[in-house]
Amino acid sequence: MLPPRSEEDEPGMAQPSPALLRTIRIVDGFSDWSGKAVAWLILPLVFGLAYEGFSRYLFNAPTAWAFDVSYMLYSAIAMLGAHYTLMKGAHIRTDILWDKFTPRTKGRIDTVAYVAFFFPAMALLFYASVDEAWRAWQLNELSEQTAWRPVLWPFKAIVPATAALLMIQGVSELLKSLYAARTGRFIGQVEKIEL
């Protein structure tokens, strides 16, 4: 998806520096890889719960683990996929005005918003959740939901991990916004997901 979509290279228009491109490529590559790894959790979610469904209603033999597994896997997909979704540019924006902005304006708005909103919000979310996850690990806290009683810390650690992953991908997004603000050109593409 890199390098930039330059229709034709106007003279005097700065190309992104190799260091900038490399940073973006590394961060995006990491998010792409890790997000796609998380995506495969859909298969155990399908098979696990389908097994539970058949097992309970056909053979009257419910499993002890299906309930815990279902919310843990779904929330892992939803949360740990958030940075991948950010890289894809798929988090919902209101595009009624956005679509009319020039690349330069978009870059400026995003730069301000990433610095003023995004990073503080993710830092606060990390701060709000990391102690809880840490305590769950130290106390070896167990789930109260089912008789299976799995350890809870991996589930609780999803929240600070989500914040951390989003901050990592945020670095790349901030660099892309800065570049767009300066040059009026985008690096990479965004995807519009149809709901």
Partner: protein
């Protein structure tokens, strides 16, 4: 108003301003909620935020969101929609306007196999538009039928929108599904009646399919129907049937449905690693975009309520010197207008929680209200010029001008408004089925 109530109102106004400019909604909500909550409530806001987040993540019903999205992608990747359309096409070919009927029926059945609208408009455009053009169908009516049919996925169960709406308005997802089925089928029927009546009045709009496009023999028709329609119908029947009859939870049904879709794809020889990969990746991005917004708006809503500002809005709206029905109409009009700039996740997760206490205070049936909102939001998919469906359709059918597509969509939007009014006048359209299902069994 107390200081904190004022703070909450300021937070709401700022939120509206920022998301209108276009920064991603979920991050804006989280930031404003945490900062304003911190100022107004102190450090406890962080415990509240974590508690709300974990609480939502434990909402087992939401596991159905990725599952139904995945099921839809698998069905789409496996080309089941094309087979279905082909079945309807050969079955109905001699009938006037048969391709409209084929498009709308295919879209309706497909809507029952997926949780989102997804690429329905694109897929329908690719497979139906060429034969509609060859058969001399009216571009305007064709475009309208494709766009309108394609949006049914957001309303007809297993709609992901209804899964997300359930906890927001305190109604079980199974009941919402039962209630949405009536209006969904009514909508499809309205589309069918409209296109067929138009075709019968003026045969030029939708002639019978040319002889060379029809099936060779009656046996071929039967074969196509058995192979192309029956397996998918069985899958849908099992998935939706088991939810509605309360045999399994929506989450389990979603998993079994997704599993069934994989099996079907394999049986048709269309289960490839590439397709599976694409389905898994798209599912993750779509799920995350909806459910991360759910997390953020859940935190925002909790802090907004804790600041006391939610109560202020409720009191102001319920205190209006007008009958409740006018307030309800006002709320519906607001949602209709909000459907213009906002996609449904923003409306269901950010705005409905603000209206919910108002509607609840007026003692309206939440099940009915939820269905009204769903039909209302489906209408937004057809409102030019913001509706993306027009652009998707234009991309795959370059022969049709955007103006033609818009005009076609506008005709169907009138049908939507008719349906919405009918549903407001006759709540039974939505309510009889859940009542029959849940009260008598």
């Amino acid at each position: 108003m107390t200081g904190n109530e004022l703070l909450g109102m300021l937070m709401l106004v700022l939120m509206l301003g920022v998301i209108f400019i276009g920064f991603p909604i979920s991050f804006t909500l989280l930031f404003l909620a945490l900062v304003f909550g911190w100022v107004g409530l102190g450090g406890i806001v962080f415990d509240l935020a974590f508690f709300q987040t974990i609480g939502l993540m434990k909402e087992q019903t939401f596991a159905a969101v990725p599952l139904f999205i995945f099921m839809g992608y698998v069905v789409e990747q496996a080309g089941l929609m094309e087979r279905l359309f082909r079945s309807f096409q050969v079955m109905l070919a001699p009938l006037r306007g048969s391709l409209y009927l084929g498009v709308i029926l295919t879209a309706t059945v497909f809507a029952m196999a997926t949780g989102i609208v997804g690429a329905a408009v694109t897929v329908l455009g690719i497979m139906a538009a060429p034969i509609m053009i060859r058969s001399g169908y009216s571009p305007r009516l064709s475009a309208g039928a494709i766009a309108a049919g394609g949006t049914l996925g957001v309303l007809i169960p297993p709609s992901v929108m209804l899964i997300v709406m359930g906890p927001v308005i305190n109604v079980s997802v199974a009941k919402l599904y039962a209630a949405a089925l009536g209006p969904g089928i009514m909508m499809a029927t309205l589309y069918v009646v409209y296109t067929l009546v138009r075709s019968f009045i003026d045969p030029k709009l939708g002639p019978a399919v040319p002889k060379e496009e029809r099936a060779a023999s009656f046996v071929a028709v039967i074969r196509e129907v058995l192979v192309g329609m029956v397996p998918l119908a069985a899958l849908i029947g099992c998935t939706l049937g088991t939810i509605l009859l309360g045999i399994v939870t929506p989450t389990e049904a979603a998993a079994m449905g997704a599993f069934g879709a994989l099996v079907l794809a394999a049986l048709y020889g269309r289960l490839t690693f590439r397709g599976l990969k694409a389905a898994a990746y798209s599912t993750t991005a779509t799920t995350s975009m909806v459910l991360f917004l759910a997390v953020a708006s859940n935190v925002f809503g909790a802090i907004f309520a804790r600041l006391g500002s939610a109560g202020v809005i409720t009191n102001a709206l319920t205190g209006l010197p007008v009958p409740p029905v006018v307030t309800l109409l006002l709320v519906m009009l607001l949602i209709f207008l909000l459907g213009w700039p906002f996609e449904w996740p923003a409306i269901v997760l950010v705005f409905i929680p603000i209206f919910y206490p108002v509607v609840a205070a007026m003692k309206y049936d939440m099940l009915w209200f939820g269905t009204l909102v769903a039909v209302n939001l489906q209408t937004a998919y057809l409102s030019p010029p913001v509706a993306m469906s027009a652009y998707y359709l234009k991309q795959v059918v370059p022969q049709w001008s955007l103006a033609t597509i818009y005009k076609g969509m506008a005709e169907f939007m009138v049908l939507q408004v008719v349906a919405l009014v009918l549903l407001m006048l006759f709540p039974e359209i939505a309510l009889w089925f859940p009542r029959w299902l849940f009260d008598t069994h």
